[in-house]
Symmetry: C2
Subunit: 198 residues, 2 copies
């Protein structure tokens, strides 16, 4: 098996034409740059322009806007996923580890203008994005939750998927509104996880 997986989201691509690979790289960079300055909702055309590339090129490399977003943020999501077990391995209590990990996740979402909103767009075009985040992050969250539950620090009936969605939702519009501090709300939510005291 030669392993030149690429499909769309996989990174390594050994077998494509040279210009194709160069363009994909260019696009990823252009997209990242545009996302930073104009938010994740920047028009595809803007990205094409920034990359000096035609629309067709974008859509061959990334069949859909969401695929482009996934590709751009793949690394960071993966990094977040890997941080979970790492935190659990420290001397932190499981609940503290969970808190830290959620913080990482929130940082990530809040940093990318509009990403949280896009994640939750009921627009079916973004199912792929949604799915990727979930596939990667929910298992990690489950692990952390379980550890904290076993340690008796939190209620044992919390569902990771629900929690992730809740946190993700809380981050929507966190930039672009100085009166709303998503971190604060997330903090409250995490506090609410603790066993109700008698």
């Amino acid at each position: 098996m030669v392993n030149d997986r690429n499909e769309v989201t996989g990174q390594a691509a050994a077998s494509k034409r040279k210009d194709a690979r160069r363009n994909q790289e260019t696009l990823l960079n252009a997209a990242a740059a545009v996302f930073v300055t104009s938010g994740v909702n920047a028009p595809v055309r803007d990205i094409a322009a920034k990359a000096g590339v035609g629309l067709g090129t974008i859509y061959r490399h990334f069949p859909t806007r969401a695929d482009l977003i996934i590709a751009v943020y793949r690394h960071q999501v993966d990094a977040c996923a890997e941080a979970g077990p790492a935190l659990l391995a420290t001397s932190l209590s499981p609940h503290a580890a969970l808190g830290q990990w959620i913080n990482l996740f929130v940082d990530f979402l809040v940093t990318k203008h509009g990403l949280a909103a896009v994640l939750r767009s009921d627009n079916s075009d973004f199912e792929a994005l949604h799915a990727y985040f979930l596939d990667r992050l929910v298992p990690v969250c489950t692990e952390l939750l379980e550890a904290a539950a076993v340690a008796g620090e939190i209620r044992p009936d919390i569902d990771a998927y629900e929690l992730m969605r809740g946190v993700g939702n809380l981050c929507i519009g966190a930039d672009s509104d100085p009166r709303y501090d998503a971190r604060h709300m997330v903090e409250l939510l995490i506090a609410g996880l603790c066993r109700p005291h008698h």
Copy 2:
């Protein structure tokens, strides 16, 4: 003062032409119906069709989609606002009253497919909608929060605006995803409001 306020969102309109008033009524009903079946994001054209009316007609009565939404839900928002003081006047503890009131708000949001998302759309077209909800509900929430804080039931540093936004955000996509129960997350958030126990 003759009080035939109407502008756009006010209901009573004594001074318009008969057909105009009839059409406005028709539109409100058609919109409400379409919102129920197709969600708040139904295309304006669908509403026009349902009402048997041209696009121009909609836009004269409601300069923007958001204005139409406001008009349709005005009553319910007002009812929710009025429920706040009423709950506080019962024998419930302030924190319980707050919980009930938030429940009312959540019910309202979750019932209308996509309303919560629209409320938080960073699309500037919906500023009016956003503003109306806030103007009406934040003061009530503030009152409830203060009462609970004075009673020593919750942390005293909770901002009503932030809380409303948080709750609103948690309700996004609550329908259309059986795995996500917004009420559950809101419950956790409200639990997180309680003074941290030593």
